[in-house]
């Protein structure tokens, strides 16, 4: 009990009345922890079990213990590896695109400008919208016969989503549209925190714009940019909503889509639980890195 009392003596007047600090702390924290354990951890323990069985939720047949067979099947399945490759490609395209567009926009916006607040807020709209609905209306924009993208780019009847090679790029482009503002937002915060006197010193030293950018701007924005990149990488890795709505091409079958199909359309509950665990390990690993950077940013 002593460690909870940061300032007050346990037997002081204030602490003697009402609930003790210890019981308040427990009252405030334990329900949340319990809630998360019951609705997140417990289900995951359950699916760890089903991951070792051949259970199918569509039948009444009981689950049979199959040991590591599911994991063996998944890791030797070339199609699963293709899903991982597609996802990797998608993550690289969309995160790179977001960093280029987002950081570029931040550099452009980092100057005195009329209506800057309004412009920044308007630019941020896409990332607040529902990815599912966004995916839906990009379908209209991408339409080969009446979509405005083909019209404005003069591409005739170009098939964005039906073309197996192009579809992944088209899906990534929507992600870039939605999330570049996020990178912009964080980069702007980083840019505005760069001390002005560094630029003044560089100017006195007659440093060129390239030197100033690579030696002053970029290193100082890097930590915050890193947070944006890790977060977007993790989110891109999990992408489901707009990709599932936009395209049913095998070339755009991201891991989350494969997992969804396996679990809820093919009803391979056991196998998909095992697959979910592989995905889970990757996500927890990235989360770990992410939290490390978040705490670093907090400490600054």
């Amino acid at each position: 009990m002593a460690d909870v009392m940061t300032r007050l003596e346990p037997n002081s007047r204030a602490a003697a009345r009402g609930l003790s600090d210890l019981s308040i702390r427990n009252l405030f924290i334990i329900p949340t922890i319990t809630f998360l354990i019951v609705f997140n951890v417990f289900p995951l323990i359950y699916s760890l079990y089903t991951g070792f069985t051949d259970y199918r939720a569509s039948t009444t047949a009981p689950a049979n213990w199959v040991g590591l067979a599911n994991f063996r099947e998944l890791l030797s399945d070339p199609f699963i590896w293709r899903n991982f490759t597609i996802t990797a490609k998608y993550v690289v395209i969309s995160v790179t695109g977001q960093v280029i567009v987002g950081f570029g926009l931040a550099m452009l916006l980092n100057r005195p400008m009329a209506l800057k607040g309004l412009i920044t807020t308007l630019l941020m709209l896409p990332m607040m919208l529902s990815p599912a609905v966004v995916g839906l209306f990009w379908k209209l924009l991408y339409d080969p016969s009446f979509g405005i993208i083909n019209y404005f780019l003069g591409l005739g009847k170009f098939e964005w989503l039906a073309d197996p090679q192009m579809a992944l790029w088209a899906v990534a482009m929507v992600d870039i549209w939605m999330w570049s503002p996020f990178v912009m937002l964080l980069s702007l915060a980083g840019l505005s925190a760069v001390p002005k006197h560094l630029y003044e010193a560089a100017e006195i030293d007659r440093a060129g714009p390239f030197y100033t950018f690579f030696r002053i701007t970029l290193p100082l924005v890097a930590p915050i940019l890193m947070i944006a990149i890790i977060f977007r990488t993790m989110e891109a890795f999990k992408t489901f909503d707009h990709a599932y709505i936009l395209s049913s091409q095998p070339t755009t079958e991201l891991i989350a889509i494969r997992l969804y199909k396996m679990a809820f359309l093919e009803w391979q509950t056991g196998l998909s639980s095992a697959f979910a665990y592989i995905v889970l390990i990757v996500v927890v690993a990235i989360t770990n890195i992410y939290v490390k950077y978040l705490n670093k940013a907090k400490a600054r």
Binding site: L136, Y199, V283
Partner: protein
């Protein structure tokens, strides 16, 4: 942001502003296009070249909320005259409202119910997540908790789980206890999802409230509980509001859980709107009007939130 000195710099600055304007137009065109399409007559939605100037009509919204069928022959003039304005719009488009044979009531399309479900689930889950999250954040902010960093990491990591991963076991459990396709089922999932976010961001807001305020209150004879409710909560109100708006938007926009955990009764709008593409009477103006009505609250909230976006998006790590 150094002062502009040379002519070259001024030119560069003008160029940058021009580029920002172009970027803004490109970024907003998709949103404008969906909003515009939701006010178009059906035949104008899919023209080449695209129709930019048009006479706005509310017909898509009238169609959105009703079940319709194709008119086989022109509607009788007296029936047309007697119809309410929205039904006239539907007649104008060559369709008629499907009416209940006994009561003659117009049949609704199901969009209204889905929209209501979205509201119910989002508001209740936001309320739960923010209230629990604020208490927990206070606990972590003011008291020493053994293994604090580990608990906070655990809380955040639950947020990072891909919905599909959680949905597989939750589906089996919900099916066993009869929570599949219920509001409560979805509310629980969204509360869990938003709770971790609420704890993280509220902890940042509460950390900023000086401890001295409560300590002064404690010395004045308040209990810890009273100090929390009368001193800390009012101070944290802006933070609570911002957190609530963030949680609401997240729940409102959520698609994957809703797709997997609901089918009809408790289905929210995000899985419903796309499911209308390719259905017999689908037309893009109706889909656009559904999307438009769905996006309006989020757009309003984004403006209200604009000063807290950075903080929310970085889980409270970066403040302005």
């Amino acid at each position: 942001m150094a002062e502009i000195k040379t002519k070259g710099e001024m030119l560069f600055n003008r160029g940058a502003i021009l580029a920002v304007v172009v970027a803004l137009i490109i970024m907003l065109t998709p949103i404008y296009w969906i909003a515009a399409t939701s006010f178009k007559a059906r035949n104008l939605a899919t023209t080449i070249p695209p129709t930019v100037v048009f006479e706005p009509t509310l017909a898509p919204f009238a169609k959105l909320f009703t079940k319709r069928s194709q008119l086989r022959e022109p509607v009788a003039p007296e029936v047309y005259e007697a119809a309410p304005w929205w039904e006239k719009l539907i007649y104008d488009g060559g369709e008629q409202v499907v009416r209940n044979k006994k009561t003659n009531e117009p049949t609704s399309s199901g969009f209204g119910n889905r929209y209501m479900n979205s509201l119910i689930v989002s508001i209740i889950s936001t309320f739960l997540a923010v209230s629990m999250g604020t208490l927990t954040a206070y606990g972590f902010s003011r008291f020493r908790v053994p293994g604090e960093q580990d608990w906070l990491f655990f809380i955040l990591s639950t947020r990072m789980l891909p919905p599909v991963v959680v949905a597989i076991p939750m589906f089996l459990m919900y099916r066993a206890v009869g929570l599949h396709d219920t509001h409560i089922g979805l509310i629980i999932l969204y509360t869990a999802f938003n709770l971790s976010f609420a704890v993280w961001i509220m902890k940042g807001f509460i950390d900023e409230i000086p401890r001295e305020y409560e300590e002064a209150a404690l010395v004045d004879g308040y209990t810890r509980m009273e100090a929390f409710f009368k001193i800390v909560l009012p101070e944290a109100l802006t933070g609570i509001a911002a957190t609530a708006v963030f949680c609401f938007i997240t729940a409102w926009n959520e698609y994957a859980f809703a797709l997997m955990m609901t089918s009809k009764n408790a289905q929210t709008a995000p899985p419903y709107i796309p499911s209308q593409v390719g259905s017999g009477l689908s037309d893009w103006t109706v889909i656009a009007s559904g999307a438009f009505l769905f996006l309006v609250p989020v757009a309003i909230f984004t403006f209200l939130l604009r000063n807290h976006l950075l903080r929310g998006m970085s889980f409270g790590a970066i403040r302005k």
